[in-house]
Structures are given as structure tokens and as C-alpha cells.
């Protein structure tokens, strides 16, 4: 018998995540949702900060990198 770890199917913080609605809206961004929000959400940098009760920067991506606004020339 293979032991399986029980874990929720999706991140419980999506209702308060500022990036989640953006990932949902555009097909090309859904990969974030699939990989993190509905997959490896314990590895999501936003989830981890939120779990620790620490502020989650709005520009923090699930992989721990910050959204680079320089690509916009800003």
C-alpha cells in the first residue's frame, strides 16, 4: 500500500491573494495558478509569508521573485 499525504487540493489563501485573480484572468498566466495555487502552494512565497502572518508585497511572485517593472521602462 502506498501512503499518500493528505493535503488540500488548492491554496486556502486565494480569496485574499492579490495576484490570484490576475492569474485567473489570462490564459497565459494560468500556469502560475496551476503550478502554485492548485499545485505546490506550500512552496508559494506569498503563501509562506501569509502563513507566517507577515505582509505579502503585491509584487511578490509565487516563486519568490519580485515583479520586474523595469521591463515596462518604469
Amino acid at each position: 500500500m502506498i501512503a499518500t499525504a493528505t493535503r488540500p487540493a488548492a491554496c486556502s489563501h486565494v480569496a485574499t491573494c492579490e495576484l490570484f485573480p490576475k492569474f485567473q484572468r489570462r490564459a497565459s498566466l494560468k500556469v502560475w495558478q496551476t503550478f502554485y495555487c492548485e499545485g505546490r502552494f506550500p512552496n508559494c512565497a506569498r503563501y509562506q509569508l501569509s502563513l507566517e502572518g507577515r505582509p505579502v508585497p503585491p509584487n511578490l511572485l509565487p516563486n519568490g521573485r519580485e515583479l520586474n517593472l523595469q521591463v515596462l521602462g518604469l
Binding site: 488540500p8 487540493a9 488548492a10 491554496c11 486556502s12 486565494v14 480569496a15 485574499t16 491573494c17 492579490e18 490570484f20 485573480p21 490576475k22 485567473q24 489570462r26 490564459a27 497565459s28 498566466l29 494560468k30 500556469v31 502560475w32 495558478q33 496551476t34 503550478f35 495555487c37 492548485e38 499545485g39 505546490r40 502563513l51 502572518g53 507577515r54 505582509p55 505579502v56 508585497p57 503585491p58 509584487n59 511572485l61 516563486n63 521573485r65 515583479l67 520586474n68 517593472l69 521591463v71 515596462l72 518604469l74
Partner: protein, 232 residues
């Protein structure tokens, strides 16, 4: 004015606050979460500034930045698209970026719970100033209620029973500090306080909140019975 208002007035007021918070902020109310923002004030203010900078961007600009980040993290999408790759039965080679590739078994079934009830209502993060105002409102509201009841006076203990059970003066204050420390530890471990779990979580039928609230109430009842026995 003296005495307490009827219990249903308090229940109605709490319901008004909980529902009002959901309508205004589109997120459930939790007092300990708001307090923890004050503890992390510096980082919270930085996050507020970053949020304000993001808000100045147009949706199109934000999407461009997100698309660039997606390409950097996952590489270019496979010909069939990300969705097809993510749900393929065999482990696909998902991109050539720096992201760790997932086996297909680690990916969830489509139509997970994440979307339920959240698609139509994007979360709004109130500013630190708004939450500070909320906390100030709790203090001012308590003060006004006490003055209206004619019972306002500053005290360093929790009443005669508290003094009889745990002592007064420095000893009583030490117990209050210990209680506060345990409460802070508890809400951090539990991910919320009686307001967040009891009021917001239970009203949304969250199983974890129901367990947490049952534990809060059970522990409170047990301690009350224990103290009543010692006071008798």
C-alpha cells in the same frame, strides 16, 4: 445608562461589523490579523507603497510585466499551451526556464476549489492606515460605551475574582502579561483569533475555523468551570 444592552443587540452589532467588513473590504474580518500588521509596521508600509506603485500601472502594463515574469520562470509555453501540458497524463517537459518541473501527478484535477466564490470578488487589501483606524475605533468605541454606562475607570486588574484567584499588584500584572503572551502565541499558531475564526470563519463554514472555535469555547468553558469551583 447602566447595565448591559440585551445580548441580541450585541449579536446584531457583530453581524453588522462582519457583513460590513466583507462588503467594504471584500475580505473577512480578523482582529488579530490587523494587530499583526501593526507589529510588522515597517514591512507593511513598504508593501503599501509597492501596492500604490502597482495601482498606478494600467492593467495592460501589469499584464506585460506578469507575462515577462512568466516567461522568465517557466520558459515559452509548449505548442499545445500550458493548460494542455499541465493536465497531460505523462510528465511533460514544461518549459526550459529555471522553474522546477512538476510530475503530472503533482498537479491537481481541473476545476479545483480555488475558483469557487472568489472569481467575482478580487481581494482588496486595506491600507495600514485603514486598519489602524479600525483598531483605534475599537478603543474609542469601548471608551464611549463605558462612559455612557457610567462605569469608566482605569484599572490594572480584571476584577475581584481575578485578584482572589491569581493575586493583585505585580503578581496579577505578571499573569495578565503571561495571558497576553499565550493569546498572541495561540492566534499566531491557529492562524486567527476568536473574531477571525469564530465570526468570519464559522460564518463561511470553514472546517478549520469550526475546529478552532470549538477549541476556544471548550477551553474557555473548562477554565470557567475550574475557576468557579475554586471560587465557590
Amino acid at each position: 445608562m447602566s447595565g448591559y444592552l440585551p445580548w441580541y443587540a450585541g449579536a446584531a452589532a457583530l453581524a453588522l461589523v462582519a457583513v460590513g467588513s466583507c462588503i467594504v473590504a471584500r475580505r473577512p474580518l480578523g482582529v488579530s490579523g490587523i494587530l499583526s500588521r501593526m507589529v510588522n509596521l515597517r514591512a507593511e508600509l513598504e508593501a503599501d507603497r509597492a501596492r500604490a506603485a502597482s495601482a498606478r500601472l494600467s492593467e495592460a502594463e501589469l499584464e506585460r510585466a506578469l507575462l515577462a515574469a512568466t516567461l522568465e520562470a517557466f520558459g515559452p509555453p509548449p505548442p499545445a499551451g500550458w493548460a494542455a501540458a499541465a493536465t497531460a497524463s505523462a510528465a511533460p517537459a514544461l518549459g526550459c526556464g529555471s522553474e522546477v518541473l512538476l510530475p503530472a501527478a503533482a498537479l491537481p484535477a481541473r476545476g479545483g476549489r480555488a475558483c469557487k466564490g472568489t472569481c467575482a470578488s478580487p481581494a482588496v487589501r486595506p491600507s495600514v492606515a485603514a486598519h489602524a483606524l479600525f483598531l483605534a475605533g475599537i478603543v474609542v468605541g469601548g471608551f464611549v460605551a463605558a462612559v455612557l454606562r457610567g462605569g469608566f475607570h482605569l484599572t490594572l486588574d480584571m476584577g475581584p475574582d481575578f485578584g482572589r484567584l491569581l493575586g493583585t499588584g505585580g503578581r496579577g500584572l505578571a499573569f495578565l502579561a503571561l495571558g497576553g503572551f499565550l493569546a498572541g502565541m495561540g492566534v499566531t499558531i491557529a492562524g486567527g483569533c476568536s473574531t477571525g475564526h469564530g465570526l468570519s470563519g464559522c460564518s463561511r463554514l470553514q472546517p478549520a475555523s469550526m475546529v478552532a472555535t470549538a477549541t476556544f469555547l471548550g477551553a474557555a468553558m473548562a477554565v470557567s468551570l475550574l475557576l468557579a469551583g475554586r471560587l465557590a
